[in-house]
């Protein structure tokens, strides 16, 4: 638990700071967070293009556990602070699944302290990703429910494999739980109020073609072309001067980021109260049972 809060303020704060003075040797990682490990996410930076590839490799379903989230945030921070890195492509190394979302075992039968630490890690991940100064492209090569969908929604651009068996959506309502307000804000910013209202209330998981129609993803490509397309999109975005693009991104996203920053502790308390309810614990246990039976 010594890992969070992370060592640095969210990256999006920096958009208003003066540009950093002479850069360190390119590729030399800053090392403010020694606890960093690399078990669940594979990160490779191509210094010639300035593009990092981040691959979720936490089988069976890349669920967002406390450990995964911590590694995710630290990886994002390292890239953010590495002047050689201008963009990151996020994808999965696990077949058929991008990420299954928050790890329900972190929410079941744990202590209040654990819930608090877990929820802070979820917030931290989102603040870093949604507020990243880097160009962020999600290459969604599998299903992406709930928190997995949030990861995709928080990127600058979403490309999904053209496979109608893959679905994406904020389906929390199906589990008897409610997406936090900042999941909702992120969703509304992508698909608009009406689509978000309907999809959130129904807890819809949208097959890829529907996700495209709703604007939840920006384009579909055959799965074997996904990485090639992601690289092409990244190159297009990196053709813009960084500083103007970053300030523009901040302008678009600041209101929603600020809202969580202003209500962060309250949001953690709400989560603890909610998840501590016996009715919710029961729902989550039932859901986990159901998942086990499916296998």
């Amino acid at each position: 638990s010594g890992v969070l809060p992370l060592c640095r303020s969210p990256a999006w704060d920096r958009a208003t700071r003066p540009p950093p003075s002479p850069s360190p040797a390119p590729g030399l990682p800053l090392a403010p967070c020694r606890a960093f490990s690399n078990n669940k996410i594979q990160v490779e930076l191509d210094e010639s293009s300035g593009v990092a590839m981040m691959k979720f490799k936490s089988p069976p379903v890349n669920s967002l556990s406390l450990e995964f989230l911590t590694e995710f945030s630290i990886s994002l921070e390292k890239l953010e602070n590495n002047r050689a890195c201008r963009g990151v492509i996020i994808t999965s190394a696990v077949p058929k699944i991008f990420s299954s979302g928050l790890d329900i075992t972190e929410m079941c039968g744990k202590s209040v302290e654990h819930y608090s630490e877990f929820w802070r890690a979820v917030q931290e991940m989102w603040l870093r990703l949604y507020g990243s100064n880097m160009v962020t492209v999600a290459a969604v090569n599998g299903s992406s429910p709930a928190g997995g969908c949030l990861v995709a929604l928080s990127c600058d651009y979403r490309i999904m494999a053209e496979n109608p068996k893959f679905s994406i959506g904020l389906n929390e309502a199906q589990l008897g739980i409610v997406a936090p307000f900042w999941f909702k804000d992120t969703f509304v910013n992508v698909v608009g109020h009406r689509t978000a209202e309907r999809s959130l209330q129904l807890g819809s998981l949208h097959p890829a073609p529907e996700a495209l129609r709703l604007g939840l993803v920006d384009e579909l490509v055959p799965e074997e072309k996904l990485m090639e397309k992601a690289a092409a999109v990244m190159a297009q975005w990196l053709a813009l001067p960084d500083h103007a693009r970053q300030l523009t991104k901040t302008m678009m996203r600041k209101a929603v980021l600020d809202r969580l920053v202003a209500h962060r502790e309250e949001d953690i308390k709400n989560f603890i109260t909610f998840v501590s309810k016996e009715s919710i614990q029961k729902s989550l246990r039932m859901y986990m049972e159901m998942l086990k039976k499916r296998k």
Copy 2:
């Protein structure tokens, strides 16, 4: 006039309250409002499905008179408080018209007290309907201008008869009057800012196919399939756990509901000032004359 303000706080307040303790005998109506009568709206609750059917039957055009609005709010409250009821389908028993909107005779040549009471009843209806914890489906089986359109916009889902002669829209500007800010907020939440701006300024009545294209309604079906489709949609929404769905709905709609609650008395005063103007009275009288000649 002893009916309003209604006996209870708006339903949407309850979303944050703890769930009610052991329910009363299903179907037993709570009776806080003895003045209740049932002249203009037919309400039938199917306790096996938990779905109520609400049919407007106030010929010739289901106009939203003070009496109609009062009955509407009371009916909604009764259903809301009835644990056996989880959803309501709203439709019309009058051919070719869903509702013609606010009853202009309530706004013409009446006292300030009357205008005040009438406007409060319009507000009350909207607060209850837009903030309902029940699943609300509008089966729009006829034209639905102005206040009639507001009723449809306030539901969770809108199905319209596939008849290009039926139209729907907030056409207040055509009458020389202005839709209140909360009509506008509701409209923007459904169709977005641009479509709302253009449609409201032009006072457009959109034929059913155009209404679908703009997102003003969610789908069109042949008129004879309307009720069947409404029941199917309702079943889909009721498949979700109530509590999570209700909290999600509140999250989506609270900002707009709160805005009227915060400015309710001011909004009534504005309405009185506006409607008391001789120029507006003249516009409304001309409009009524025109309607009479049409017959």
Copy 3:
């Protein structure tokens, strides 16, 4: 520099004022601003229809210089105050270009005082146009980047010539600069948050067909039909009673207008700080060099 601030408060303030008492002789222009000149914009009012035609004629590219903006604001004010004028069609007398946007020479190597005066003139133009009580139709008969796009976005309706060589967009990011927040607010109100976020970050210039698809313009017509179509659209909007339409327009646009009014001096200071940076000066000089080489 004796011209700005203009003699009157923004037109949109008037929407909440009582309607003016007995009108002066129709067509008699009020004359609060004697400094008015007419070098860069040709204005013709057809008193029978109440429609003014405003043609940008500042070759080679109708760039929005201080002089152009001043004349634009004064022309708008004169029409606004002329009871014979109810609507204005804005178009270009220069082939292939609607307007190239802000005149970069006004931002390069000038004094702080000049930057301040220039930016105030940009604000003033937008406050008058976006808040105009008149019906405003943009007949976009050529390319329309950056500030030119803002002019079109600020109108009530946008018709563009059906020529894929003509493009439109807020491409500031391409130049290494950032669109001000009120450019962004205006854009979001037209195309929604997601489209705005992507388009602004990429500094996209959208060819006419794409602009239509994104909702950036309302329709495309063959270039030779553009003025005819603009007149027909204007007639449709003028069929509505002015007062209700104006109040509705104010209701839709007031929040965004108020935001600039509240932060006007701060916005000027930000512009001065930004444009005074050597890095920005360098970007702008490079861009101007590039434009010169293109010729």
